[in-house]
């Protein structure tokens, strides 16, 4: 072999090794600078190649930080149902094995199935094993046995906000319901059982409610409109399918409160499926459940949602999973769906911003019936 000749593979691996060696030496901030510089050099040399390991990512598409989520675990007491316990434990393993570790882990609501103390205690104990800090959100399954009393005693208030690395986070309780139980003389257990079902017409529609909206307005008065905003809600803060409560009745009012902000992303639970929407400039991403996948609703599916492949009922974990969210320098997010037993899927901010024109995730091979 000619001295000095390097095969494509050798060059590729050398570039790759140099890239990772370099990465280990730079902090995230200097990485961003480096990204800009190396992109400039590449442009100057006329060497813009689609492959190779030059640091050509522009700062806007770089991430500030990552958080992970576990959602809709629907725990029964351990002695009754070990199936759902196995699923949340799998999710805890997933987030604990993330390298680097996420800045925090969001629990997206519906920790319990029927809001009982034994279920919430079990969930709290399991989540203690998560290495990163946990942020809790309440779901209707946690709430309607005692109207949130025990959940709040364990995890704190149902609405709260915090700032993290220049992003304002809001967790809002969006699954209030108008009183359908007093007139019917329902016991708390009966009320809970009704709310736990999706396809009954007895319960009311989810809403943030007037008090919640007031709280949200108040919280946001002190936040600059240019500050990126990430909102956590259990129900989607838009109107997808009313009969199943894939729906927030006062979504329009809530969106009006969020609209003045330049970069708003809503991360929601409840729908147990890969779900993507954009209304004006607000981006919405649904979270996966660990317990079971819901089918896509017969109508109302947002246009830019790429459906996940149909779930295999013969595999407990198929169609379920957890995920992580990269908050980018731009203030928007890339949502990674860690679908168990399948390839993960990423729904990028650029896909949503371009209304589905760019970075389209792979289409489904087996859509819903």
């Amino acid at each position: 072999m000619t001295r000095g000749f390097k095969s494509i593979e050798t060059k590729h691996y050398e570039e790759r090794d140099a890239f990772f060696a370099g990465l280990a030496r730079v902090s995230r901030r200097s990485f961003l600078k480096l990204a800009g510089v190396s992109a400039g050099i590449a442009l100057g040399k006329g060497l813009v190649t689609p492959h190779g390991f030059q640091l050509v990512e522009m700062a806007d598409a770089a991430e500030r930080f990552t958080f992970a989520y576990i959602s809709d675990t629907h725990l029964y007491p351990r002695a009754l149902n070990d199936r759902f316990v196995r699923a949340i434990l799998k999710a805890v393993d997933d987030v604990n094995n993330l390298q680097p570790q996420p800045d925090f882990v969001l629990m997206g609501g519906d920790l319990a199935q029927l809001g009982r103390k034994a279920e919430l205690d079990l969930g709290r104990d399991i989540l203690k094993a998560v290495k990163a800090p946990i942020r809790m959100m309440v779901g209707e399954h946690d709430w309607f046995l005692d109207m949130g009393e025990y959940w709040k005693s364990l995890f704190g208030p149902e609405h709260y906000s915090f700032d993290h690395k220049g992003v304002h986070f809001v967790t809002i309780m969006s699954v209030q319901e108008k009183d359908f139980w007093t007139e019917r003389g329902l016991k708390p257990e009966e009320r809970m059982q009704i709310v736990a079902g999706l396809d009954n017409g007895i319960q009311s529609r989810f809403e943030v409610g007037e008090a919640g909206r007031e709280w949200l307005k108040n919280d946001l008065t002190k936040v600059d409109k240019k500050t990126p905003l990430v909102v956590f809600s259990h129900s989607p803060l838009y109107k997808y399918y009313r009969p199943w409560n894939f729906w927030t009745e006062d979504a329009d009012e809530v969106q009006a409160i969020l609209r003045p902000f330049e970069h708003v992303t809503v991360i929601h639970g409840h729908t147990h499926q890969l779900l993507t929407n954009r209304i004006d400039d607000i981006h919405f991403h649904g979270m996966l459940s660990t317990a079971w996948p819901w089918p896509y609703a017969p109508e109302g599916l947002p246009k830019i949602t790429i459906q996940q492949n149909r779930a295999d009922p013969f595999d407990q974990f198929d169609g379920c999973g957890d995920g992580s969210v990269d908050v980018m320098e731009s203030g928007l997010v890339d949502a990674l769906y860690n679908l168990w037993d399948r390839n993960p899927m990423t729904v990028r901010a650029s896909y949503v911003t371009s209304n589905g024109a760019q970075d389209t995730p792979p289409r489904t091979k087996l859509p819903s019936y």
Binding site: Y76, R83, Q113, G197, W292, W294, P295, A297, P298, P313
Partner: protein
């Protein structure tokens, strides 16, 4: 009271499951019992419950040859036609417009109409004409308002139809209740069918029977219902004639009203 009637009465009480009462378990179905022949020959009854014929040379308990069976069926039919001389008889099966084979998608129907205009008559084109002209496909239209008096349901009024409808809906409702209650179908871990299949979504009964790849064999809807009862909900499979299984099938099918039958679809 004879021992026989006591046993019958014991079997009568309806099957009750945690508050659910299933209509399917009520009473016995009507039977047509052919009276025994004094000669000891095998007797066969027509489905009208009245007309009876003997099979000569075949004793009760023996099996007639195919030729003997054809002969007795022909005699029964002849007898029925003799007793009902005025009833119209469809010599050839009528083709219904909705059963037309597709002729290349949405363009199919206009193409058939085109051929009909040119005087080319195919069964499909004739039926398409019939469907638009208001008569039954393939048959000449009668005078406006003339309706044949059917025998099938006897004399019935709109009120009867409402009762039939209500009975059917009750059966579907029973299926709904079993579907939504883990205890009712014997699930042991608190998981009911609706938790994954709200409004029976994603059960696609119209695609069965089909080769169920994961089972390695052709499955019916009930095979999948039982698979789900055994696995995700950890219960025991229901017998094929279990009223709960029948009611659940009724509920699932009712939710897919209007979906085209596409057996074998994946």
């Amino acid at each position: 009271m004879t021992p026989m009637t006591t046993r019958a009465l014991l079997a009568l009480p309806v099957l009750t499951l945690g508050g659910l009462v299933l209509a399917q378990s009520r009473g016995a179905l009507p039977r047509h019992d052919a009276p025994a022949s004094p000669s000891g020959n095998l007797t066969v009854a027509l489905c009208d419950g009245e007309t009876v014929a003997e099979v000569p040379g075949v004793k009760e308990g023996e099996t007639p040859t195919p030729a003997q069976a054809h002969a007795v069926a022909d005699r029964l039919m002849d007898e029925w036609r003799r007793k009902h001389p005025d009833v119209a008889w469809d010599g050839d099966p009528v083709r219904l417009a909705q059963a037309l084979p597709s002729e290349g998608g949405p363009q199919g129907a206009p193409a058939a109409a085109e051929r009909a205009k040119e005087g080319v008559t195919t069964p499909g084109a004739a039926a398409a004409r019939g469907a638009t002209a208001g008569g039954a496909g393939g048959l000449p239209s009668g005078p406006q308002g003339a309706v044949q008096e059917g025998h099938t349901y006897g004399a019935f009024a709109p009120r009867d139809e409402r009762i039939w409808q209500a009975e059917t809906e009750k059966f579907v409702k029973e299926g709904h209740d079993v579907f939504h209650d883990a205890k009712a179908f014997g699930g042991t871990i608190g998981v009911s069918c609706d938790m994954c299949h709200p409004d029976a979504a994603n059960t696609h009964p119209e695609t069965y029977p089909k080769f169920q790849v994961q089972l390695g064999r052709v499955a019916l809807l009930r095979d999948m219902i039982n698979w789900c009862i055994q696995n995700p909900t950890r219960g025991k499979p229901l017998a094929d004639d279990d009223p709960r299984l029948k009611a659940m099938e009724a509920y699932i099918l009712a939710q897919r009203k209007g979906a085209a039958l596409e057996f074998g679809k994946h």
